[in-house]
Homo-oligomer: 343 residues x 2
Amino acid sequence: MIDEKNQEIHLANRPEGMPSEKDFEFKNTEIPTPNEGDVLIRTLYLSVDPYMRGRMNDTKSYIPPFALNEVIAGGIVAEVVESKSEDFTKGDVVTGNLAWAKYSLANEKAIRKIDPAVAPISTHLGILGMPGLTAYFGLLDIGKPKEGETVVVSGASGAVGSTVGQIAKLKGAKVVGIAGSAEKINYLIDELRFDAAVNYKDENFKENLAAALPNGVDVYYENVGGTVSDEVMKHLNNKSRIPVCGAISAYNLETPDIGPRVQGLLIKNSTLMQGFTIGDYTEDFPIAAKELGEWLASGKLQYEETIVEGFENTIDAFLGLFAGTNLGKQIVKVADPMYAKLS
Amino acid sequence: MIDEKNQEIHLANRPEGMPSEKDFEFKNTEIPTPNEGDVLIRTLYLSVDPYMRGRMNDTKSYIPPFALNEVIAGGIVAEVVESKSEDFTKGDVVTGNLAWAKYSLANEKAIRKIDPAVAPISTHLGILGMPGLTAYFGLLDIGKPKEGETVVVSGASGAVGSTVGQIAKLKGAKVVGIAGSAEKINYLIDELRFDAAVNYKDENFKENLAAALPNGVDVYYENVGGTVSDEVMKHLNNKSRIPVCGAISAYNLETPDIGPRVQGLLIKNSTLMQGFTIGDYTEDFPIAAKELGEWLASGKLQYEETIVEGFENTIDAFLGLFAGTNLGKQIVKVADPMYAKLS
């Protein structure tokens, strides 16, 4: 066994508004010993995602809240250190929704083996993982973009948004991205070849958005909510579709999220607005993962990762999501592999 | 020819907020003479509908605005006085979207013959007309209620709402109506056999609504918008559906319609919210009209009409919609037939 101590991140307080370091506790613990059917895993990469903010509140939602003074769980890529399962052996690389910890136990049913030869293992937290699937299902099952239509995506340079825009381009749509910095706008135009990209922090956002939408909006893939969304919705076309994936602008509000009611716009344009989570699509994961993998392998999909080094920087990385410091998928690199062979 | 003068209602001003008599002009005109392909009709019943308020504004929508100083058009049941069409003869009863006038010309393609033997001719402005179709398509195509589910309908005692609730009952759903007077609540419970009905003007509305929804809301058929809608949406179930038909609370607002943004609720519950107008369903009108007619004939559907007598009372009847003075379909009876045989 490795003679290292373990460390876990626990939820110490339910944050009010924007979380801060004091809402989390880095707890030193022993490295646990696996029982029959479990494996001991060592975290290599850890995912921080905006939706996790919701689980820090004590409110009923599509997934239960995190428990106070217990370890937080999220997307993890790890190596198997010790296996009490016939399905896994030491050195396997696995992924699952697992503890924010350097070491943890995982039941054999809670993890899935990944093949390091196919793509960098961190992509299973991004374009080949939950964010990629979220982009895929929301856009294709709800948004249903047709060739020549205009697709607008907010949070466009993030893990989900950048994938949405690229898939929409693959389907022949015109794609307009909304993001919050000149660097992000350049990335969307120069690297991802979006048809237009608009900075919502620019004082002429309203005019710039209108100029980017000469043919209105057929699909609005919603990641941010708030006033950005209000503005996009002024341009909806008849029979437009709005997959509602996220509303990051509202996750840390301490007052109610108030804005124009949407009923009138929805009637006027016969618009469909549909919330979803990837839990609605579990049966179709294999099909989507296969197609995303093929697009990635053939160079039709690109991705960007913002990688923070060190488990101790996890909270900073998480909070950075709300400040928009990430380009593409925000990941924390926890450790280099000791047992896994990555190539 | 009849030696009577004609009268039309013109839009004199674009109303700001709640319309008033001064926004309309009763204009004395000559009875027109039909050209080839036209018929001269004499209005028997005229429909006033909430959606018409939107057409009084100068804003682009799913139907163009009414022109200033021109005659207003809406649902009409009329008799043919003189025909220059091979398809119609004097005494036929017809319906169409026609002038708010005692007499008017209608092109043969703009009207449809109705059979007075099947149901009272006024029902073609209500349960067998646009409101009935609106109820039918919104509920069945978007709401898709399943047996045992809970359907909430606002504006429940109106022409659309009362039909929505009854169709939902026919589909085996539990139906909860929201309306604005004790008389309406009694009507929903005693006559239409809704499972529950809640008065939104009651100071305990919030608690009463919660008590009526022990199993949450699977379908919310939206007719009113505003704070009533905000309250219903707190009870949405997973995979709930919201056909958005109307938002009468907002039609006369002079300030923006502001309230809680819906994105968070839609995501949390994977809820679908879809605006529509019956124009989206023109191809399926015959199927729906047939089924509505069968339900009506077999006593499975009931309807109520509030009939105001006299063309001169049209504006009062229209404004009454926003005060909620109508039970069921609000109609203006303009004249008794002179040429048509009704039975």
